[in-house]
């Protein structure tokens, strides 16, 4: 039987590949003299002294890239797979694992170019850097003046990978593999890449507005969290949700995953300093502090409300803390980080229990409750607690005499929410029309490991 979904996805991937390579060839053809004609977003190093690669900065950035990779695989893979039912363990891990593979290629072909390439209309980078054309080993003054450009690129690649991987938690246990692949590819291209450009790309409109997002509160967490909510509502609830028991099948894996996320997040936040220096250290310290505070806060909140402190609660609290501190990590001090973590721990405990149950949607692994809400709080908290004493390249927040920053943060948050909601809804319609997204009832009952992959997770 011919599987038309696979053929469709394959053809789309092939077309994107051919387009990217063609464009890369076109850009490589003209001699260097043509370079100044391109939109001058990348500051040419020619007139000033040539940028020098610093070995310490480069070592830390490459190490951070590996740390962030570990957050996706195995960190997120384990964190998520432990929480689903036994029959879906492999499929859930596969989501994270294969996204790493998919984005690794997409980023090189055209993703990096769309995100960080020369600006077009403050909305998107172009395809000038498709195939990493023009992205060499010399530093790019805008993106890490002391590290090879490709080091910055590969660091960003890991962010581009983990973001769509986060969304998989919302539709866990009920999707077709083919639909999931296509959705991920489209989401990365049409939502992540533009958003990364808006916030971090030279010329991006949120960047120009002065929005502070050190390591991805908006770009990574709000975008994935809100998209997760839209997807969860669109796809509908799992069969038997609310009636049949669906407890986590292997919480030890979840705790190991959360620990790996914590470990890797030092690369995520401290690595975003793009240098091995005081700022990286500061980000490292507040990351650890906020996370610990959040884990404790969630644990105590649950203990008070339900009567017992749970391991899942502590692990979830830690992740919420990591999420919230992400945008603030390069701008706030240690004591504010305790407040940021403490608040998010309690907040996300309630959004993943009371709020989710009250509203009745099935966000299987609480992506919206933790990343969407936690990221929103983190972005706003950045506007409250940012201090130029911590990072002179940033700005002051409300508590340091600058109320305006909160408004800028709110605009960035709102823009992200709108892009995520509208964009994701359109993409879901497209994916459904082309290959279908939700698994059939029989496939869901059988379990995705068997129905999508012909494999069984535990033959022990």
């Amino acid at each position: 039987m011919i599987n038309y979904s696979i053929i469709t996805i394959f053809i789309i991937c092939l077309m994107l590949t051919i387009v990217s390579i063609t464009l890369a060839q076109d850009q490589a053809a003209p001699p260097p003299a043509a370079a100044p004609a391109a939109p001058a977003a990348a500051a040419p190093a020619a007139p000033a002294a040539p940028l020098k690669v610093d070995s310490g900065d480069t070592a830390w950035l490459l190490t951070s890239s590996a740390l962030v990779l570990a957050m996706t695989a195995p960190g997120l893979a384990l964190f998520y797979c432990g929480m689903v039912r036994r029959k879906n363990v492999l499929a859930t891990m596969m989501h994270s694992f294969i996204i790493l593979c998919l984005i690794s290629v997409q980023w090189v072909l055209y993703g990096y170019s769309l995100s960080f390439g020369p600006d077009h209309g403050h909305i998107i980078g172009g395809l000038e850097w498709a195939g990493l054309n023009g992205v060499g080993l010399e530093p790019n003054g805008d993106y890490g003046a002391t590290v090879p450009h490709q080091a910055f690129m590969v660091f960003q690649l890991m962010f581009a990978a983990i973001t769509p991987a986060l969304i998989t938690g919302a539709f866990a246990e009920r999707v077709k593999f083919s639909g999931f692949l296509l959705f991920t590819l489209l989401w990365a291209t049409f939502i992540y890449d533009p958003l990364a450009h808006w916030v971090w790309g030279m010329g991006g409109w949120l960047h120009n507005m002065g929005a502070l997002d050190f390591a991805g509160g908006t770009v990574v967490h709000i975008s994935s969290g809100v998209s997760a909510l839209v997807t969860a509502i669109y796809l509908g609830k799992r069969l038997g949700y609310g009636k049949e028991p669906m407890p986590p099948h292997n919480l030890p894996l979840t705790v190991i995953g959360a620990s790996l996320l914590w470990f890797g997040w030092f690369g995520f936040n401290a690595g975003s300093a793009i240098a091995a220096n005081g700022l990286a250290t500061s980000a490292f310290v507040v990351t650890n502090t906020a996370t610990a505070a959040a884990a404790l806060a969630w644990m105590f909140a649950e203990w008070a409300v339900r009567g017992k402190p749970t391991v899942l609660g502590a692990a979830s609290g830690a992740v919420a803390g990591l999420v919230a501190i992400t945008p603030a990590s390069g701008f706030v001090g240690p004591v504010p980080s305790i407040i940021i973590g403490g608040v998010v721990g309690v907040l996300c405990y309630f959004t993943t229990s009371k709020m989710k149950n009250a509203l009745g949607y099935d966000d299987s692994l609480d992506v919206f409750g933790v990343h969407g809400i936690g990221g929103t709080w983190g972005a706003i908290a950045t506007g409250l607690f940012a201090s130029k004493a911590i990072n002179s390249g940033g700005a002051d927040g409300l508590f340091y005499g600058n109320a305006g920053q909160v408004w800028i943060q709110l605009i960035a948050v709102a823009a992200t929410w709108v892009l995520a909601i509208v964009g994701t809804f359109i993409l879901l319609k497209v994916v459904d029309a082309l290959v279908g997204f939700r698994a059939s009832e029989e496939e869901e009952r059988m379990g995705l490991d068997l129905s999508q992959h012909n494999e069984s997770g535990y033959t022990l």
């Binding site: 929480m83 028991p245 407890p247 339900r306 749970t310 899942l312 993943t352 229990s353 149950n357 609480d366």
Partner: protein
């Protein structure tokens, strides 16, 4: 011949097995099961969801014995498996029509 099924608390297994070996029971089959009678279950909480788990883990021991031995076996199981609290378990006795040793083809009591 009789087939004796005993559902007991899991931590009692070693004690029961040792005592049965002492009275001459050479082999047995056990399964890990769940069940409930009068014993209450427990609560489990995962984020926003609370589960009341009614089924309690138990061990089922199955032994096939000659008629003359069955009373002794039952008494031994009761003596070693009992704790006095709810959930100690139950014993079911059924008549066994036949038993066959696969390797040799022996039937009846010589197969036990």
């Amino acid at each position: 011949m009789k087939k004796i099924e005993a559902i007991i608390k899991p931590f009692k297994l070693d004690e029961v097995k040792a005592a049965l070996n002492d009275i001459g029971v050479q082999g047995m089959t056990i399964s890990e099961i769940k069940g409930y009678g009068r014993q209450k279950g427990h609560k489990e909480t995962y984020r926003g969801t609370e589960y009341m788990i009614e089924f309690v883990p138990k061990i089922k021991i199955e032994v096939a014995v000659a008629d003359q031995q069955s009373q002794k076996v039952i008494e031994t199981i009761i003596r070693t498996a009992k704790t006095g609290s709810i959930g100690d378990g139950k014993i079911f006795v059924t008549d066994l029509k036949d038993a066959i040793r696969i390797r040799t083809g022996e039937t009846g009591e010589s197969a036990l």
